[in-house]
Amino acid sequence: MKLRDLVVIRLGVIINLVIGQVVAALLLPLFLDAVGTILVAALVGPWAAITVGLVSQVLNAVLSGNFSWLPFGVIQVIIALYAWLAARVGAFRRPWTAAPAGLVLGVIAGSTAAPIAYHLFGGATAGGVMAVTTALRAVGMPLELAVRISSVSTDMLDKTVAFVMVSLILRALPNQLRARFPAHA
C-alpha cells in the first residue's frame, strides 16, 4: 500500500471517529460514522475503504472500551464496497442521486446488522436502535422483527444523510485536490 493511501486512510478513519462530535453538537438523531469510509471509497477505491472501515471499528472499540461490537465490522466492509460501486456509477454527482443510493445502503446495512444484533446481542446494541427495539417489542412485535425494523429504519436515515454529505464534499473539492484522486476524476 502506498504511503499516500495510508495517509488518506487515516484521514477517513479520523472523519469516521470525529464527525459524531459535530452531529452531537447539532443534536441530530444520526451517527454518520461511515462518512470517512464512503468518501475514501469514492476517492481511492474499495481496498482503502475497507481498511478505513475495519480500522474505524477497531479504534471505536479501543476508544469506547466496548470490544463486543467488533462483529459489526462486517457492515463496514459492505458499506465500503457498496459506496465504491455507487461512486463508479456516478451516484455522488448530485445530492439527489446520492440520497436514494444512501437509502438503499441503509436498507442493506440495517438488514445485515439486524441478525448480528439479534443473534449475538439479543437486540441490545446502540442507544437509539435499542430504544426503538424495546418499544416495538413492548407493543407485542416478535423480537427478531423488532430488531430488524429498528435497525433498518435508523440506518436508512443515517446512510441517506451520509451519502448526501459525501456528495457535497466531492462537489466542493478544489481542482488541485480533485486532480490528485484519479479514481474520482
Binding site: 462537489r171 466542493a172 478544489p174 481542482n175 488541485q176 485536490l177
Partner: protein, 270 residues
C-alpha cells in the same frame, strides 16, 4: 458606527483548572485600535474568545455597546463583533472565494451588497471566482478576514491577522483596519508582528500572568527597548531606526520616520 467594548473584572479558567485570566478590566472605545501583546500561552486568545461570546467568564462582565455578552449566543454576537481566528483558513468550505465571504452576511440576513467591496479592498477581486483551497494558505487567511469584514461589524477582534503575510498583504490589512476605525469601529488585535502593531494601533495593552501589566500609547511602548526586551520583543524596524538616529517625537510608523528623514544625505552603497 461602532461600539464601546468594556471588560470588568474578568476571571476565566479552562475546566476545573486555575484562572488563566485573573481580573482583567479593559475599555476599547469606538474608533480606537488597541493591540494586545504578551508571551505565548498568556491568555490573549482566551480574552478575545470571551469578547466574541465563545467562552463564558467565571466572574466579571463584558459589554459591547448596550449588550451584556453573557446574555447573547455566539451567533447573535456576530452582529456586533467580527472575530477573525488565528488559524482561520480552517473554516473555509464554499466553492468560490466570493461564496465563502458571503456566508457571514447571508447568515445574518444582511444580503451580499458589501461582499464585492471588501474583496476589492483586500485585493481579492481577481480571486473571487477561485476555489479557496486552490489559493496559498496566507491568501486563504486573507479570505477569512474578508468574510469577517463583509459582516460589517461594529467591533473587530483579530487574532494574529498578519501571520505568514508579506508586506504587501500586511499593507492591505492595515488600510482596511484604519478605514474602519475612522468610521468608528473599535478594534482589538492580538499580534506578535510589532511592525504591524505600530502601523495600525494607537494603544498597546500587555497581558502577563493573567493580568494587564501595561496599557500605554503605542508610540511610548514600541520605542521603549527595555520594556519590550522583558517580553522577548524588540522595537519594530521603524521605531528602531528612530531610536538609532535619535529622531525627535518617537516615530514608530514607516511614514513618520520617512517624514523625519527628509533632507538626510545618503552615502552611496558600499
Amino acid at each position: 458606527m461602532g461600539f464601546d467594548v468594556a471588560l470588568r473584572g474578568l476571571h476565566f479558567g479552562y475546566g476545573s483548572g486555575p484562572d488563566v485570566l485573573r481580573g482583567v478590566s479593559l475599555d476599547v472605545a469606538a474608533g480606537q485600535v488597541a493591540a494586545l501583546l504578551g508571551a505565548n500561552g498568556v491568555g490573549k486568545t482566551t480574552l478575545t474568545r470571551l469578547i466574541a461570546g465563545l467562552l463564558r467568564p467565571r466572574a466579571g462582565r463584558i459589554s459591547v455597546g448596550d449588550w451584556d455578552v453573557a446574555t447573547k449566543r455566539p451567533d447573535e454576537m456576530a452582529r456586533r463583533v467580527g472575530y477573525a481566528f488565528q488559524h482561520a483558513d480552517q473554516q473555509l468550505f464554499a466553492r468560490t472565494v466570493r461564496d465563502d465571504v458571503a456566508f457571514g452576511p447571508r447568515s445574518l440576513g444582511l444580503g451580499e451588497a458589501g461582499v464585492a467591496g471588501v474583496l476589492e479592498e483586500l485585493g481579492l477581486s481577481a480571486a473571487a471566482g477561485t476555489h479557496p483551497y486552490d489559493l496559498p494558505a496566507p491568501v486563504r487567511k486573507l479570505v477569512t478576514l474578508a468574510g469577517v469584514l463583509a459582516m460589517d461589524p461594529g467591533v473587530l477582534v483579530l487574532d494574529e491577522p498578519t501571520a505568514g503575510f508579506d508586506l504587501a498583504m500586511r499593507d492591505l490589512v492595515v488600510a482596511a483596519i484604519a478605514r474602519r476605525a475612522a468610521r468608528g469601529t473599535s478594534v482589538l488585535v492580538v499580534s506578535h508582528d510589532l511592525a504591524f502593531v505600530a502601523e495600525v494601533a494607537g494603544r498597546v495593552v500587555v497581558l502577563r500572568d493573567g493580568l494587564i501589566v501595561a496599557d500605554e500609547s503605542a508610540r511610548r511602548l514600541l520605542s521603549h527597548t527595555a520594556t519590550l526586551r522583558a517580553m522577548g520583543l524588540r522595537p519594530p524596524p521603524a521605531a528602531a531606526v528612530g531610536l538609532a538616529l535619535n529622531l525627535a517625537g518617537e516615530p514608530v510608523r514607516v511614514a513618520e520616520v520617512v517624514e523625519r528623514l527628509r533632507g538626510v544625505r545618503w552615502t552611496p552603497a558600499p
